[in-house]
Symmetry: C2
Subunit: 108 residues, 2 copies
DNA sequence: TCCATATTTCCATAAATATAAAATTATACT
DNA sequence: AGTATAATTTTATATTTATGGAAATATGGA
């Protein structure tokens, strides 16, 4: 992942409405939600939400598909994962003893 | 973590210079780097970099300490971790069967 | 075809953010 | 005290981004 891609993704998340959209879609799961449901749920006018959804899609964080008259948006889990990985890549020059306790999750 | 905190953190990362700073500090490890070294390494004037460093610190992504005349900045691994966790909290309403393959990392 | 619904594009305005020069503060050394 | 170094604050300007009304596009049903 290029730094400009990561930057665009973080930029997409740097706005309350858009962050709320992603959280909503992460909660909703792969089934996703229609654009109208999203703008309704978050109380934003349709044009405003359309602008934000396009931004999130351009950033590779959500996906869209058409179903009848609706456009269904869903979280792009792969994209989110790539972004997280980018942030911690090459951590401590590869020496995980330095930061491991802070960064590595216990596994179940 | 409040959504406004997460938003502020993503906002801090939504800018190439600042994202480069965090990557640089993540690579540098807990020892960190002096403000002057950072602005030198990234080719930005001191006031500009000072503005960006303050932004990253305010967002809880880096820490600073004074050493003589220098101010040493280092990645705040706990803060980064909290941010990542926020993004995927309550994923698929807790049913990891839906998105697990995309989100959960294999453990070594 | 005509109408209602769903969403987007266009556009103008408002608001937030980045940049860097100049001035300021703080520390160390002689 | 005097001087050099390190970093920050102040300030003004330039740039980017968000917002939502009005108009346009696309689909499905009567």
């Amino acid at each position: 992942m290029e730094i400009s891609d990561a930057c665009q993704a973080f930029s997409a998340l740097s706005q309350t409405s858009r962050l709320e959209v992603l959280k909503l879609l992460v909660r909703a799961g792969p089934a996703g939600l229609a654009a109208g449901k999203i703008s309704g749920a978050l109380g934003a006018p349709a044009p405003t939400m359309s602008f934000h959804l396009k931004e999130l899609e351009r950033a590779g964080l959500i996906l869209s598909r058409k179903e009848g008259r609706s456009v269904i948006y869903a979280a792009d889990y792969g994209g989110v994962r790539d972004l997280v990985d980018f942030l911690l890549a090459d951590c401590c020059q590869g020496d995980k003893r330095l930061c491991g306790p802070y960064v590595i999750k216990e596994c179940a």
